[in-house]
Amino acid sequence: MEWINILIQGALLGGIYALFAIGLSLSFGIMRLVNIAHGDLIVLSAYASLVVVDGTGVNPVTSLILVVPLMFAVGYALQRGLLNLTLSGGLLPPLLVTFGISIIIQNTLLQFFGAHTHRLQLGVIETQALRLPGGIAIGLYPLLVFVVALISIGGLQLLFYRTRLGRAFRAASDDADTAELMGIDNRHLYALALGIAMIFTALAGVLFAIRTNFDPASGPIRLILAFEAVIIGGLGSLWGTLLGGVILGLSQAVGAALSPTWQILAGHIAFLIILILRPSGLFPRTRD
């Protein structure tokens, strides 16, 4: 019974990892951009929420009303002002520019907020659990986060396959030049794409910061977890990413059950094993 609880916990952990990964997956899927600053943008969202919560006294979830549009604007401006300039010059410019942005965000947060950890508080809901017969307990908050991940991915699927904007995204992803010939303004489209990616980044940042301590240096590990979920699931498939997150969460839960210090390492090892056995992930969609 203990093991069933551990596995449920691990699978639900996959929800937050999938949320980490959605933004990364979107920007890669649409503009082939691997955003090294992704983890730091997650942490930036958490700090933005912290400022709103401290300033207005609302709870962190309500702060999303401000944080989501803010991060959308940050994403739009970042893509339009900086990253669009890097997309034609091969591999190095986008990689090194986002790498530079990552270090700038980390150290700017360090200057303003210091190195100590923060956490967002949501009250009793954080610790409540659904008790099922047979001693099975499901944490309410992780379950909610998982549902948010499901809704997010479902919503994105609708956006991609049922709307004009989604069609434009898919067109630009398949063949950016031809899409442009058909009258799509790629610069605006890409900026919108990173803006939308940042909506989910903001969501992920706030939801993770409610459960976990964060500090200015927390970004890189979020990027790595997001990246592992994307690669395990297979590039370009959002449901695959969710499954990648679940597999990562399960391996971490099993590792942590053996010894708490093994949690993150077990996730890395599972990732490396899958990488060696199935280099293109479990459900690949886009080719790179």
């Binding site: 691997v34 900086l82 300039l85 530079g100 360090l110 790595i224 990488l275």
Partner: protein, 349 residues
């Protein structure tokens, strides 16, 4: 009647490179003599500059030439450092034997690591190398034999092997840093002048084109990856010989061993031997100037690197080459028509 073809020669050295080759000798002698005309503080700084230059050259070889943008080279600094500490402490190995063994260890470990990360391409390769380094950092913090989370220290007995006298010891370690740095620059220079260097330069300029002309890009890249791992491991051993203590966070630190190195190469000029020199000097200068403002120097380095990448992807050295056609390390070939005296026209490549 057809015109006889003009005789052509392949030129490598330029006037600037010849002048540089002559000028560098007294400069190196002055640096090597530093322990006799300066203080311990400057010695430490120059030793640090020396190993950062070596790390920057190696990263540049990987990313600038072989197209392998690794964000995980700190894994080899850490592995080299740990191998050095473990072999000298637990196996009582002599310091001078333990350093090459650290290089060998990093080299051997690079084989299975490359097996995993070479399955990823481009930016995914970058993050993949980073994951590997994180895994080794977490692994090191679990293994009791290497001190787990708290790491290892060098005992006084071990450092006394170099010399019982502190001053002499510092001088020897300083000269070793300088020597390793010169050696790495030499290896990179000779490698780039060789056939393999030609292959590498071709890969740098266009990977598909070089492959279609018969360059075995996979094997070349793998060889470069393993060579840089070995050199990085040696430097790792040397760095932690100077620091006397190693811990998982310090040994596998991405900020210390990769982030600043990448900034150096990008700012100085990626894909050139001269670039890392300039980038390293810019880094040291900024860090010393902004020493009172915490990590502001990292923000400034990041801003400069982003601006360079967007506005002048060739870096500071690329800008100088474009303006003045200088080349200090003659690694490229230029066609020149005889007679030789007319061949001294500067050209961009």
């Amino acid at each position: 009647m057809p015109q006889p073809l003009e005789p052509i020669r392949v030129e490598r050295a330029t006037p600037a490179s010849r002048a540089f080759a002559v000028g560098i000798v007294p400069g190196l002698i002055a640096l090597a003599a530093l322990p006799w005309w300066s203080d311990a503080g400057n010695m430490r700084l120059v030793a640090e500059m020396a190993y950062y230059l070596a790390l920057a050259q190696l990263w540049n070889l990987l990313a600038g030439y072989a197209g392998l943008v690794s964000v995980g080279q700190q894994v080899y600094v850490g592995l080299g450092g740990y191998a050095f500490f473990y072999t000298t402490r637990a196996l009582d190995l002599n310091v001078y034997l333990a350093l090459p063994l650290a290089a060998l260890f990093a080299c051997v470990m690079a084989v299975p690591i490359s097996f995993a990360v070479f399955r990823l391409r481009g930016a995914y390769f970058a993050v993949g190398t980073w994951v590997v380094s994180e895994a080794f950092m977490l692994g090191a913090s679990l293994i009791e034999a290497v001190g787990a989370g708290s790491g290892l220290s060098l005992t006084p007995d071990i450092v006394r092997q170099i010399s019982p006298d502190r001053g002499v010891r510092d001088t020897i370690i300083y000269l070793m840093s300088l020597g390793v740095s010169a050696l790495v620059v030499g290896i990179v220079y000779l490698l780039l002048r060789s056939r393999h260097g030609l292959a590498l330069t071709a890969i740098r300029d266009s990977e598909p084109a070089s492959a279609s002309l018969g360059v075995n890009t996979f094997r070349t890249k793998l060889a470069i990856y393993i060579i840089t791992a070995a050199c990085t491991g040696f430097i790792g051993g040397l760095i932690f010989l100077q620091k006397l203590r190693i811990s998982p966070e310090a040994g596998f630190s991405i900020n210390d061993w990769t982030v600043v190195v990448i900034f150096m190469v990008v700012i100085g000029g990626i894909g050139t031997i001269e670039g890392p020199f300039i980038g390293m000097l810019v880094y040291i200068l900024l860090r010393e100037l902004l020493a009172d403002y915490g990590t502001v120097y990292l923000i400034v380095m990041g801003l400069i690197a982003v601006a360079v990448m967007l506005k002048a992807p060739g870096g500071l050295w690329g800008w100088i080459v474009q303006r003045y056609g200088l080349q200090l390390f003659p690694v490229s070939r230029r066609l020149a028509s005889a007679p030789p005296s007319e061949a001294e026209q500067p050209s961009a490549h």
